[in-house]
């Protein structure tokens, strides 16, 4: 027992324990989110959704995951084998790493770095690489389409995303995520930065390739986009990454705008999770309401509307900070 405490006390031990915790969290989160997505969609569409496995279909996802694992892993002829096989892993790793710096509560953070924000955003950018790899290696026109779109989209939306989060960072003066939460003691930043919040959610939806910006996998246009040729658990990994990504952007939104773990009565991490899932609900709500935007409109939207607005917001913030 003493030994355990000592090991956990060291940095490495903390990282290890954290990694195990994160993997557990990622799986449970994905299981929950998939169920939640299906339920949200179903109820918006006046139907009950999965009902058979477990209470209200709660463990339906486990059944689906088992089925997915039982599927044959198809490697089509003439794919670029090594890249094709590597892509699902590459899509998943950065997502895991992002969890390193997310503060679930005041103390529950694996590694509280002073460049936390940058780390997460840098890792998020890596996902694009994986999608590009997957699309390119698949040797399928639809998949290439999907990945090309994905690259253009992610590059375009990373810019406003960064500029948007600069505003709260400017108010705090630190890249450390715990600092940002600490600075929201009096009021949440959503109050002082409503525009930034809206912009952030928009960009985050696009960054995670969620509808209405789900162009890389636009079902009715590109069949399944970049993962058209993937089957079984390889496809499962892409799926897992998508939902984990959602968790991360929602967690960031919580930290930046909703006061992180702050909240009365309940322990910090509960509040944190509640807020994260509220944001995720919002993103799901978008998906089940809107049609998909067209590719060129998507890019135009980023450059002509999001970036100017984000800049304006940043300037305004800077101005107000200066005057105060």
């Amino acid at each position: 027992m003493d030994n355990l405490v000592r090991i956990l006390g060291t940095d490495l031990g903390r990282m290890l324990a954290g990694l195990i915790g994160v993997i557990a969290l990622v799986s449970v989160n994905a299981l929950f989110l998939i169920w939640m997505e299906r339920k949200v969609a179903a109820h918006m569409q006046l139907r009950p959704g999965p009902m058979e496995v477990g209470w209200h279909g709660a463990i339906q996802t486990i059944a689906d995951a088992l089925k997915l694992m039982g599927k044959e892993l198809i490697t089509p002829a003439e794919v670029d084998r090594s890249v094709y096989l590597l892509a699902p892993i590459v899509v998943f790793l950065p997502v895991l790493l992002s969890f390193l710096v997310i503060p679930f509560s005041q103390t529950l953070v694996i590694r509280d770095m002073n460049v936390g924000v940058l780390l997460i955003l840098a890792f998020a950018a890596l996902t694009v690489l994986a999608i590009l790899m997957a699309g390119w290696a698949s040797n399928n026109k639809y998949a290439v389409f999907g990945s090309i779109r994905s690259v253009a989209q992610n590059v375009a939306y990373e810019i406003p995303l960064l500029i948007t989060v600069m505003s709260p960072i400017l108010m705090v003066g630190s890249y450390r995520l715990t600092d940002i939460v600490a600075a929201q003691e009096k009021f949440w930043f959503i109050v002082s930065q409503p525009l930034a919040f809206i912009l952030y959610i928009t960009c985050a939806t696009a960054e995670t390739n969620r509808a209405p910006f789900d162009l890389p996998e636009a079902e009715s246009e590109l069949v399944a986009g970049f993962h058209t040729e993937y089957s079984g658990m390889r496809f499962g990994l892409f799926f897992l990454a998508e939902y984990t990504n959602m968790f991360i952007v929602a967690a960031l939104a919580t930290i930046f705008f909703l006061g992180g773990w702050r909240g009365p009565v309940l322990p910090g991490w509960v509040w944190f999770l509640l807020k994260v899932y509220a944001i995720i609900f919002l993103i799901m709500w978008f998906r089940w309401t809107f049609p998909r935007v067209r590719f060129d409109q998507l890019i135009t939207f980023a450059w002509k509307i999001l970036i100017p607005l984000a800049f304006a917001n940043l300037l305004l913030t800077a101005l107000v900070m200066k005057l105060m």
């Binding site: 569409q45 006046l46 009715s220 049609p291």
Partner: protein, 370 residues
Amino acid sequence: MHEPGQEEKTYVLNFGPQHPSTHGVLRVELQMEGEFITKAAPDIGYGHRGHEHMAENRNYQQFLPNMGRVDYLHALAYNQGYCMAVEKLTGLEVPERAEFIRVITAELNRIASHLLWVGAYLLDLGAFTPFLYCFDDRENILDLLDRVTGSRLTYCYYRFGGVPKDIDDEFMAGCRAFITRLRGRFKDYDDLVTKNIIFIKRTRDIGVISKEQCVRYGLTGPMVRGSGIPYDIRKSEPYSVYPRFDFEIPIGERGDIMDRYLVRIREMAQSLRIIEQALDKLPDGPIMAEKVPKRIKPAAGEVYQAVETARGEFGCYIVSEGDIKPYRIKLRVPSFGNLSILPEIAVDTLVADLVAILGSIDVVVPEIDR
């Protein structure tokens, strides 16, 4: 194939026959430059069933069930077109009540078809939820039609000389309830779809068809009306009891997808009006002509009868040689003509637009491959 050393600029993308948004087995061969289409060639015939040939090998009655399967979404209009053609050929008089019942059921079916189109079209554009709302409404119609026709999709209801089953009070009450319900739902569709900025961006000024093109390609139905030509068989060559009802032919202005969408939405409202009037005026009387011969054996001759289906003009051309079997039946289907314009309007658009344009044509592929 390009020569070695020469730069390849375009490539071919097979859109279908198995693709989420081709609605059946339709293949469009696309010549692409990046995401832009330089040439689109629809390839049909994957689901050919030879309905016209079947007609030559069976007697007049026996061809009735086929009519529910050419265009399964507006099957009753096909029933009507064929029955009217044969009635014209044999000189059968249809009692008034039967005509009214035909109009009510055919209009209900038209709404069902348009509702399905709206839902499926939004699905093409990536919005899932309206699809389910439309199906919820459509389900009501199917329940109603189920009560009289006995089936929910491939109806085979009209007979030469009338209809075999009368409508009851419960059906009429159900119709009226449905009319109120759908009218109340239009606002939701408006908010959810018509006014949605993303939807407007996806459909305004996309796939524009000029009046001249409409005429040149022989388009019919919402496709021409969207371009501003008020051509509707129900008004321009009135048949059945349509002249007795007061309804309008909605038309568009610009001829883009949005206009075609609006035309269809407004048509639903007009159909509701027709049904309402028909229910009010419904006369009593027989539903079947007296003395319908057991074997239909028309004298030699030929006849053409057109009706307006949800997709456009359906024409039934029958040549009889005085036998119990028709010598030849030619079905003029609207989707075939409407699809023919695709190569012209799909050029220089994106793949996403192609999906939008193809959807807006509202093709029913089995109808093309009849």
